[in-house]
C-alpha cells in the first residue's frame, strides 16, 4: 500500500478543553510537509498494538508548525496526548480531499464537537491567503466548556467580516454573549441563521451519527446532494 511516512517531533502542547489537546509538531528533517486544508494524517504510536488512527490537521498550510487537535477517546488518542515534547512520531500522509480548492462561493461549515478541526484549518488558510467568499460556521457542542477554539475563532470573526459563527449548545443553557442557539442544529436554526439555503456549498464534519443526521436534514430541505460534502470521524 502507498505510504508517505515522515518523522515529526513534538514541539509544544496546548490544552484546549478538558479532554482536547492541541499538539504542535515540526518535521524531524527540517523540510516542509506540504498539505491542503482539510487533509489528515495516519498515525500509529509505537506503544499501541492494534491499528492506528487518522487525525485531521488543524493548522493551516502556511503555519510553521503542524498541529493536530485531538480529543482523548481511546488508546491512540491517549498515547498521542500523553506524548512529551521532544518525542518523535511517524505520520503517514497527507491524505483526504474533504475541502475543494475553489471555495469562492458561500460556504456553510457544520461542525459537531471535534469536527471543527478541518474548518479551523480552512478558515486560517483563507485569512492567510485572502481567499474570498463568505463562511457560515455552525458549530455544535454539548456545553460551553466543550467548545474548542472558542476564543481563537471569535478573534478571527471580529477581524474578518466574511466569517459568521453560530455556536449551538445542546446540553447547556448558560447564557454567553458568543452563544447564539441552545439546541441541536435543526431546520429552524438553519433557516434563521442562513436566511436562504440556496446557492451554498455545505460541509459537514463530526461523528458518524452527527454527519448522517445533518445530511438527512439538509436533503429534507431540498439541498442538492452535489452541494453537500461530508467527513465523518471514527
Amino acid at each position: 500500500m502507498q505510504t508517505n511516512n515522515r518523522e515529526f517531533i513534538l514541539v509544544e502542547k496546548k490544552k484546549e478543553t478538558e479532554d482536547v489537546t492541541s499538539l504542535y509538531f515540526q518535521t524531524a528533517d527540517g523540510l516542509s510537509f506540504p498539505f491542503k486544508s482539510g487533509q489528515y494524517i495516519n498515525v500509529k504510536p509505537r506503544s499501541v498494538s492494534g491499528h492506528g488512527k487518522s487525525y485531521t490537521i488543524s493548522s493551516s498550510p502556511s503555519e510553521k508548525l503542524l498541529c493536530l487537535t485531538i480529543k482523548r477517546k481511546g488508546v491512540v488518542s491517549s498515547a498521542l496526548i500523553d506524548m512529551v515534547t521532544g518525542e518523535k512520531v511517524i505520520f503517514d500522509g497527507p491524505y483526504g480531499f474533504f475541502f475543494p480548492e475553489d471555495y469562492i462561493y458561500d460556504v456553510v461549515m457544520i461542525a459537531g464537537g471535534i469536527g471543527s478541526t478541518p474548518f479551523y484549518s480552512v478558515i486560517k488558510d483563507k485569512v492567510a491567503n485572502n481567499i474570498p467568499g463568505r463562511v457560515h460556521l455552525l458549530y455544535s457542542n454539548k456545553t460551553l466548556s466543550d467548545i474548542t477554539f472558542l476564543n481563537d475563532l471569535n478573534k478571527i470573526a471580529k477581524e474578518n467580516k466574511w466569517l459568521n459563527i453560530i455556536h449551538c449548545l445542546t446540553q447547556d443553557k448558560t447564557k454567553h454573549s458568543l452563544i447564539k442557539e441552545y439546541s441541536r442544529i435543526d431546520k429552524k436554526i438553519l433557516k434563521k441563521n442562513l436566511t436562504s439555503l440556496n446557492k451554498k456549498k455545505y460541509f459537514i464534519c463530526g461523528s458518524i451519527a452527527f454527519v448522517n443526521d445533518l445530511w438527512k436534514l439538509l436533503k429534507s430541505e431540498a439541498v442538492p446532494e452535489e452541494d453537500i460534502f461530508t467527513e465523518s470521524f471514527f
Binding site: S49, G50, H51, G74, F234
Partner: protein, 389 residues
C-alpha cells in the same frame, strides 16, 4: 448433529444436554419456590440448591461454603477482581493478570486502576503462554491478586497453572490470592483446586452443555472478598438475588456428565480436530494455525486463511449452515481485531483473516468432512474477489 446445520462454535456456548434439561424441568414448573421463603415450597428448593452446591464442591475438591453462585463466567470474574481487590486493599494495591485474559478480567482490572490499584499485564509468547520469569519478577510485597486463565477461549492454549502456584508458594515476600478463570477448561482438564493450587476459580455452565445464566466463583475460605451485588443477603450476603434454582440444578448435572465423559471426549475430539487440520491443509493453501497444537484444548482450532477476511468467511459459512467465529476487527465494537491474536504477535493482516472452529460433543467425522467441503467453496469464492493474492 442437527442435520440442518453444523455447530462449530462450542467455545462461545454449547447446546444443553437432554439430561441437564430433564433435571431442570421440575424447577421450572412445579418446584417454583423461592429458596429464601419459610414455607415448604421454598425449603425444598433451598435444600436442592445446597445439594447441588455440595456436588459441585466435591467435583472441584473444595468445601461447600466456598462456592458462590453467580449469573455466569463474566459475573464471577468481576466478583473475583473487584471483590478480592477491594477487600484486601489494606494489604496492598498491586494486581497481576495476563494480557490475554477474557475482557471480564481485563476491563475490571482497568477499572480498578481508576481506584488507585496498579495492574501488571503479563506478556505472552506466540503460543499465548506467559513467561514464568516475567511473572516471578513482577511479584511484589504489595501484590494482592493474581488472575491467570486456565485455557484461552480464542486459541485454546493452556497456561502452566500448577507452576504458577508453585512460584507463589516459593515467594517469601508476596502472598497474593490466585484466581483462575477456568470457563474453557472445565470438562476438559481436571479442575481440583488443591492440586491446581488456586485460591479462587471461575466456572460457567454454558460452556459445558449446561444452561446459560449460571456460573460460580470458588474462593478459599481463608480469604475475604466484598460483594458487587447487594440486596436480600443470599449466598451469605456475598451475592444477593433470588437464586436461579433450575440453573443451579442444571449446572451440577452438567458438571457430573462432563466429568464422566471428559477423558473419552478428549481423545475423540483431539483426533477429530487433528483430522480437521489435516483436511484443511490438504485442500486450502496459505493457512496458518494460530497457537501451538501442544498444550491446547482438544476441540480448538484457530486458523488464519490468507486473503480471506474473517467476517465475510463466517457469514458465507453461516449461509451454508456451518457456524463458527472470527477474531477479525470488523466483528468487534472497537474495530480492533481480537486482543489475543494481537498479543501473540500475529500480524494484523492475519488477525483479520482468523477464524475459530471449536468442536463439541455432537461433532462427528461426517460434520468435519462436510465443513471442509463448504469451507473450500467459501474460501475459493472470497479469494476470487480479494485484493490480497
Amino acid at each position: 448433529m442437527n442435520n440442518k446445520y453444523i455447530f462449530l462454535d462450542n467455545a462461545s456456548t454449547t447446546p444443553i444436554d437432554q439430561k441437564v434439561l430433564n433435571a431442570m424441568m421440575p424447577y421450572l414448573k412445579d418446584k417454583y419456590g423461592n429458596p429464601s421463603s419459610l414455607h415448604r415450597l421454598g425449603r425444598i428448593n433451598k435444600s436442592s440448591i445446597e445439594k447441588s452446591r455440595q456436588e459441585i464442591a466435591q467435583y472441584i475438591g473444595s468445601e461447600t461454603q466456598e462456592i458462590f453462585f453467580t449469573s455466569g463466567g463474566t459475573e464471577s470474574d468481576n466478583l473475583a477482581i473487584f471483590g478480592i481487590a477491594r477487600a484486601n486493599k489494606h494489604k496492598g494495591k498491586h494486581i497481576i493478570v495476563s494480557c490475554i485474559e477474557h475482557k471480564a478480567i481485563l476491563d475490571s482490572s482497568k477499572k480498578l486502576e481508576n481506584e488507585g490499584f496498579e495492574v501488571t499485564y503479563l506478556d505472552v509468547d506466540k503460543n499465548g503462554i506467559i513467561s514464568l520469569d516475567q511473572f516471578r519478577s513482577s511479584l511484589r510485597k504489595d501484590t494482592i491478586l493474581v488472575s491467570i486463565m486456565y485455557a484461552n477461549n480464542e486459541i485454546g492454549t493452556i497456561q502452566p497453572i500448577k507452576k504458577i502456584s508453585e512460584i507463589l508458594r516459593e515467594n517469601r515476600d508476596a502472598n497474593p490470592i490466585f484466581h483462575c478463570d477456568a470457563c474453557q477448561a472445565t470438562g476438559v482438564l481436571p479442575i481440583k483446586v488443591k492440586e491446581l493450587g488456586v485460591d479462587a476459580l471461575t466456572v460457567s455452565a454454558s460452556k459445558i452443555y449446561g444452561p446459560k445464566g449460571i456460573g460460580f466463583l470458588y474462593i478459599n475460605k481463608k480469604y475475604s472478598f466484598e460483594p458487587i451485588i447487594y440486596g436480600g443477603g443470599q449466598e451469605r450476603s456475598l451475592r444477593s438475588g433470588t437464586e436461579n434454582v433450575a440453573g443451579i440444578i442444571g449446572f451440577a448435572k452438567a458438571i457430573q456428565i462432563s466429568e464422566q465423559k471428559r477423558i473419552s471426549e478428549n481423545v475423540r475430539l483431539t483426533k477429530l480436530r487433528d483430522y480437521f487440520i489435516l483436511q484443511i491443509k490438504k485442500n486450502i493453501k496459505d493457512v496458518v494455525i494460530n497457537g501451538s497444537l501442544k498444550n491446547r484444548l482438544p476441540n480448538n482450532l484457530n486458523v488464519s486463511i490468507r486473503g480471506v477476511e474473517g467476517e465475510s468467511l463466517v457469514l458465507l459459512l453461516d449461509e451454508k449452515g456451518v457456524f463458527c467465529s472470527t477474531g477479525s476487527a470488523c466483528s468487534s465494537i472497537d474495530l480492533n481485531p481480537s486482543h489475543v491474536l494481537v498479543k501473540i504477535g500475529l500480524p494484523l493482516e492475519l488477525a483479520h483473516c482468523s477464524v475459530r472452529f471449536t468442536l463439541g460433543r455432537h461433532t462427528r467425522k461426517s460434520d468435519i468432512d462436510h465443513s471442509v467441503k463448504l469451507l473450500v467453496e467459501c474460501v475459493d469464492k472470497i479469494r476470487s474477489i480479494t485484493t490480497i493474492k
